[in-house]
Symmetry: C2
DNA sequence: CAGGATCCCCAAAGATACTG
DNA sequence: CAGTATCTTTGGGGATCCTG
């Protein structure tokens, strides 16, 4: 297998520095539930709270709320509440969030494709130990 | 708001399912230090333990060791120890790891570009509250 | 229905010291 | 230099109850 051209993308050292803003954003975006929420919304359709809860299987109400608030504060997700009863709230990606999602989808795609092989290897390694 | 080309990538539901292998890999790869290690190695050059420690600013010895072991078990990072004294150990991406890194670099690039604006927004939102 | 407020806890992270 | 071993700490996250 040919390893495509040497990556050689040099990040400004800042990315690795502990007080760089990237660290904060990176943490939000790569948080366990943040990733799943963004990916769920990446399909295009706005989703309601309860739909998101089902989609990100295993998320608690607290963590979903927390995740959504963080992503909203970061301007990645928009919240649209319609003043009806019972309440109807929809979440969607903002333009900025969509840009991010575009770069996240190929990653997730690759992971979904290779995950079985990867965990297989990990288990084999564990058995040898 | 026009959402750039309809993303519309539908993941097999499995990705969102709590017992899908993807979840495990996703957690390893998006872990705080896992991301930084992969990105550091994505520049192409193999790196030594101490170089990685400096690169991923703030990482403890314990977490670096743990992260490297996990990534190695996943077949994403290779470890090459030369039997000299003092010890000389180099870490590099495997072919599989490089494929992954290729998909991670654009994401990190985007984050590095937009992080300042994003945390700016978040702070503004916090102030308004 | 869509959350907010609380209490609680344990796995995971950090710090420190030691060693092949 | 490149780790392991051990101890301590913390905050992420779960469970539960409540309300607009």
């Amino acid at each position: 297998m040919t390893v495509s051209p040497p990556l050689r993308r040099h990040f400004p050292d800042g990315v690795f520095s502990s007080d760089c803003p990237s660290r904060v954003v990176l943490d939000h975006v790569t948080s366990k539930w943040g990733t799943l929420v963004i990916l769920a919304l990446a399909e295009g359709e706005p989703l309601r709270w309860s739909e998101l809860r089902r989609r990100a299987e295993g998320v608690s109400e607290k963590m979903l709320a927390q995740t959504l608030r963080t992503l909203e504060a970061d301007g990645l997700v928009s919240r649209h509440a319609r003043p009806v009863v019972p309440p109807h709230v929809e979440y969607a990606l903002t333009a900025r969030g969509s840009e991010l999602a575009e770069r996240m989808v190929p990653l997730m795609d690759w992971i979904a494709d290779h995950a079985p092989a990867i965990v297989g290897d990990a288990e084999a390694a564990a058995a040898t130990r």
